[in-house]
């Protein structure tokens, strides 16, 4: 089968629509992952072992199992106990939760990387705990995290095709439906690859700039 440019022109608008949804999902999941990751990181640091241990084990479990199966779990099992979610919401929760366990590690490393002397100095200058966090710890802990967090943002973007398995009509699913109705696979599948590669390469360049600006948090 030959490469057909006319067909490419015909399907590009449909695929771009899918790309738009893909970016939207990435953004939403990233917000969920960023917030939930912070919650997980703080819970794991808790003095109360009854909180820290189970949260830690839960995060390990999520990280050791495939995102696809977790998506199936949210999409197919939760309705049985009365929680019916639209594919999009299920996908955003699944992706957000999965990557929250990764961002939690970034937060943890970032916070632990602030030297102990900073805590002691804050104590010595009589700062309250909120003041310590706001003026001493966070300004030092956050910048080194930025490249690592951005890295996971790119990773999430690349994982969005998995949502096509729970019928979200994102880029991959648009391409599949185009391919199935026209019996042409080369153009849609290649275009999906090109779109992802192009977006990823641009983001990698931006990531390098971020790393240059904020330095790198140990891998």
């Amino acid at each position: 089968m030959e490469w057909d440019w006319a067909f490419v022109a015909e399907i590009t608008p449909t695929l771009l629509q899918g790309l738009k949804l893909t970016l939207f999902i990435t953004l939403l999941s990233a917000i969920v992952a960023a917030v939930l990751g912070l919650v997980l990181a703080i819970a794991r640091r808790s003095q109360n072992l009854l909180i820290a241990r189970p949260v830690g084990a839960f995060a390990e479990f999520i990280r050791g199992t495939p995102l696809l199966v977790q998506l199936y779990f949210i999409f197919y099992v939760l309705p049985d106990i009365g929680i019916v979610l639209s594919p999009l919401v299920a996908g955003v929760i699944g992706m957000g939760l999965h990557y929250a366990t990764y961002t939690a590690e970034v937060y943890r490393a970032g916070i632990e990387n602030v030297p102990k002397g900073q805590w002691e100095a804050a104590r010595a200058t009589n700062l309250t705990i909120p003041q310590t966090w706001q003026h001493v710890i966070i300004p030092q802990a956050v910048p080194p995290m930025i490249p690592a967090l951005a890295n996971y943002l790119i990773a999430m973007f690349k994982e969005t095709p998995l949502l096509s398995a729970i019928t979200v009509l994102e880029l991959m699913n648009q391409a599949k439906s185009v391919a199935n109705s026209s019996y042409r696979y080369i153009e849609p599948m290649t275009l999906v690859g090109v779109f992802f590669l192009a977006t990823s390469l641009v983001s990698v360049v931006m990531l390098r700039a971020l790393e240059h600006r904020y330095g790198r948090l140990g891998k």
Binding site: M1, F61, R63, G64, T65, P66, L67, L68, V69, Q70, Y72, F73, Y76, V77, D80, K158, E159, P161, L162, A165, M172, K176, A179, Y185, I186, M189, T190, V192, G193, F196, L197, S200, L201, V204, K219
Partner: protein, 218 residues
Amino acid sequence: MAEWSGYLTLILQGALVTAQLTLMGSALALVAAFAAGLARLAPFAPLNWLATVYIEFFRGTSIFVQLFWVYFVLPFAGVSLSPLMAGVLALGLNVGAYGAEVVRGAILSVPKDQYEATIALNLTRFQRMRHVIIPQALPLMLPTFGNNAIELLKGTAVVSLISLSDMTFQAQVVRAQTGSTLIPFVTILILYFAFAMVITTGVKALERRMTRGLDGVR
């Protein structure tokens, strides 16, 4: 209850396919990682470019897209692969690209004096890698390789979407036949996690073995 044992057998058959994919994929990934990692360090520009293109391409798109491309597009180019081969190829090359960066980083972090010493001792390029650099770089690579192997294990779930009957695929079959969702999915989640634990323990044991005799070196 009798029928459940039948469904469990189905899922265990899938587990076998998943294990097979993980092993074969990891083997390919290891080869690809060393080939591309060393090629990026080679003092020959075209080899560098080739490795860089490979790494950036496979890291820039997801395993899902690559798998579909291998399975649906390559046949038109005359290369027809079985789902298993397509899965191993896509998974191995994808994880290999991540591994290549690990190999490169670990080799670069071996102190420069070690290189100078091998030159002073008149070792050949191959002898230098085989006896001095790699033995010191390997322990640095292992922990990350372990993580990569777990990522590969998680990636195998995607092959269920190209109709390869792995664990996730079988769970879907059970779901379709029984209408029960909780049991099949919880079963495979636990199995996946157990596999991941096996990899973690294996890599830790390997790490202990590799670092033996290296005390005091670093």
